[in-house]
């Protein structure tokens, strides 16, 4: 739960764009910081899995996952250009200003996973919200058991954070298994949906004492959940982070409410057990 807040909850704080890095087509990473260092220091206490509201004045505001771990120095968003606000963000140049408020949402309860194996299953840009969690776990490596990442994208060119994934894999801190739907020039890795990685020869996937994190497009989500349940995962050990159209981020505007849950304050992190009870398609 977020602490009680007497501030103006809708008032964003000015932020400056430091640099922009291309990730995959249509997706860029925006490194930014608050103009006011005090705001930056306050913001840095976010938890993996939380999100922020990003303002492009004159265009609007949108919710964005926080891909950095609080243990990392820089703050950044990784954003796909899809609507008017994200397009406006993509137009920005270094030193341009925009505004941010947050962090919001429940985030992943990282303490609860201590002593457990962590299995991350991501599809497409679903890796963005999980990145925070992965980095946090690697930074606190001794607290967690085995860490595995299963990640799939449509084509090799659409695999995100590749440099990061390769770097984290080095030294055996975690295992990373990649797959693509369609191989392209030079791809000698696995081809197939993410779920097919679980049964690939040479992959040893722990189920007992393991928490799985699933994030990706709805169709991928449905199939991966099926696969995980078939492998013996318990519904309350499968985590996901949901997204919805959102205006306020603080449980007031009503857009993100599904079933009894306001995604912005009760989520965005839910167990599959909770998601099932929400009673609507995710």
């Amino acid at each position: 739960m977020n602490p009680p807040n007497t501030e103006n909850i809708y008032l964003p704080k000015l932020a400056v764009l430091d640099r922009v890095v291309d990730d995959i087509p249509e997706v860029k990473t925006f490194y930014w910081r608050f103009e006011d260092p005090a705001e930056q220091a306050k913001f840095k206490h976010f938890r993996p899995g939380q999100f922020a509201q990003v303002s492009l004045f004159g265009v609007g505001e949108f919710p964005a996952s926080l891909p950095p771990s609080p243990t990392e120095e820089e703050t950044f968003f990784t954003i796909r250009q899809v609507g008017s606000c994200t397009s406006a963000l993509h137009q920005l140049k270094p030193r341009d200003k925009f505004a941010v408020r947050g962090p919001y949402g429940n985030g992943f309860p990282m303490e609860e996973y201590e002593g457990r194996n962590l299995t991350f299953v991501a599809g497409g840009i679903g890796l963005i919200p999980l990145r925070s969690c992965i980095v946090y776990a690697l930074q606190n490596r001794a607290k967690y058991g085995r860490i595995q990442v299963f990640y799939g994208a449509k084509t090799p060119g659409e695999l995100m954070y590749l440099t990061d994934l390769r770097a984290w894999e080095k030294g055996g801190a975690m295992e990373c298994h990649l797959t693509v739907d369609r191989a392209a020039n030079g791809w000698d890795g696995h081809v197939g949906v993410v779920g097919s990685l679980f049964k690939k020869s040479g992959v040893d996937m722990p189920v007992d004492n393991t928490t799985a994190f699933v994030c990706g497009p709805p169709v991928m989500f449905r199939f991966v959940i099926k696969d995980l349940l078939a492998l013996g995962f318990k519904e309350n050990h499968i985590m996901s982070t949901l997204e919805r159209y959102m205006k306020c981020g603080v449980g007031k505007c009503g857009h993100c409410c599904i079933g009894v849950a306001y995604i912005c304050v009760d989520g965005p992190v839910f167990t599959y057990e909770q998601i099932k009870k929400l009673g609507e398609d995710i």
Binding site: E61, R95, E243, R244, Y245, K247, C253, G254, V265, D281
Partner: protein
């Protein structure tokens, strides 16, 4: 709670007293036919303020949650950008707010000021608002065909959450009840005089009589709350309800307990942008549509389902201490498809829920 008596001819002097205390006073006026509306009292229109009239369709919630409300102004471009929060909360009083609408405001209080975050825009306006509640006692004027406050347990006389409550005793006197210290403060004015035991008895008798003078509209929530909470309403029932929805959003805009809004930026000068929030409706198709076009709630009946789940599910009732319906009957009056709250409650109550699994076969 302290009570006083006041002559009918002096009741409007309460408006004057509130105005003299620096408040903008909002009061109900008659338009054409049975049309009525809330407006600011001025020296010119003061004599037209009505004590008995149909409750306006356009609910008074807009005085704490305006249909379009400026949240902030942003000046300048990249060089020197400043964000200036808007802060408009004039001291106001609503004179003649009905008991159902008082309950509506209380619902908004619990919602906007509850849980983890407080909505400061709402809070400022609400703190500066004085409520003079008028009890509905005139069956011909005050009580409409669609009123069902009896079922929602909000009227005809509010029990709390007002500053001052007025009730016409029908004998040239009104009884005034103070709900807060601010309301009681008015009793020092000479227009109020001490009540008698007979007046209290008369008040009780009138209320008992008024309860019998309501129309045929009822909304018995219990069974519907159970079916909604258990999720046993058949998809077919929702489809029937959805087929009758014209997706105009009217029910949400007239609802004193609806809270949803959208946020929009608009250019107001060459280097000035204004961010406003605007009432939104879960009945409209774009309500859940995300950038890129994916809409998790595409079918109209899913959106109807959503509205009534939010208002009637046990989970929210426990959290907010009441169904999110105050029985004002506005949705029933404005809906062209006749799927306001009373009709929905009845349709769900009458439709067969999902049959119990172990029921023997019918012959």
């Amino acid at each position: 709670m302290k009570a006083r008596l006041i002559d009918s001819g002096n009741v409007l002097k309460i408006v004057d007293l509130l105005r003299a205390r620096g408040r903008e006073v909002i009061a109900p006026f008659c338009g054409r036919g049975r049309d009525s509306y809330f407006d600011t009292v001025t020296d010119e229109n003061r004599a037209q303020v009505r004590l008995h009239l149909p409750n306006p369709y356009y609910p008074p919630k807009r005085f704490v949650f305006p249909h379009i409300e400026r949240l902030m102004r942003v000046h300048g471009k990249n060089g020197a950008m400043t964000i200036e929060p808007a802060c408009e909360a004039p001291p106001r009083a609503i004179f003649g707010i009905r008991s159902c609408d008082v309950a509506g405001l209380w619902h908004l209080d619990r919602f906007y000021l509850g849980r983890d975050y407080r909505d400061v825009y709402y809070e400022r306006r609400r703190k500066n608002l004085f409520l003079v509640n008028m009890v509905c006692t005139d069956p011909a004027q005050d009580i409409g065909n669609d009123c069902f406050c009896l079922c929602a347990d909000t009227g005809p006389a509010a029990r709390e959450h007002f500053d001052l409550q007025l009730m016409d005793l029908g004998d040239g006197q009104f009884m005034a009840v103070a709900g807060t210290a601010a309301g009681e403060e008015l009793f020092s004015e000479p227009i109020f005089r001490k009540g008698t035991g007979a007046c209290v008895e008369r008040r009780r008798a009138i209320l008992a009589e008024v309860r019998k003078r309501f129309g045929t509209t009822t909304s018995w929530f219990t069974a519907t709350v159970r079916y909604v909470s258990q999720g046993t309403i058949l998809e077919k029932t929702w489809e029937e309800i959805g087929n009758r929805c014209l997706e105009c959003g009217g029910c949400t805009y007239v609802c004193p307990a609806c809270t949803c809004f959208t946020v929009s930026d608009r250019q107001v000068g060459p280097e000035e942008v204004e961010r406003v929030r605007i009432w939104d409706s879960c009945g409209l198709s774009g309500f859940t549509r995300m950038a890129g076009g994916f809409n998790p709630r595409r079918a109209v009946h899913d959106r109807r389902n959503r509205r009534f789940f939010r208002k009637l599910a046990q989970y929210f009732i426990q959290r907010e201490l009441a169904v999110a319906c105050v029985g004002c009957g506005r949705c029933a009056a404005v809906c062209h498809g006749d799927i306001g709250m009373p009709s929905i409650v009845e349709m769900i109550r009458r439709a067969a829920p999902e049959p119990p699994k172990n029921e023997p076969a019918q012959h």
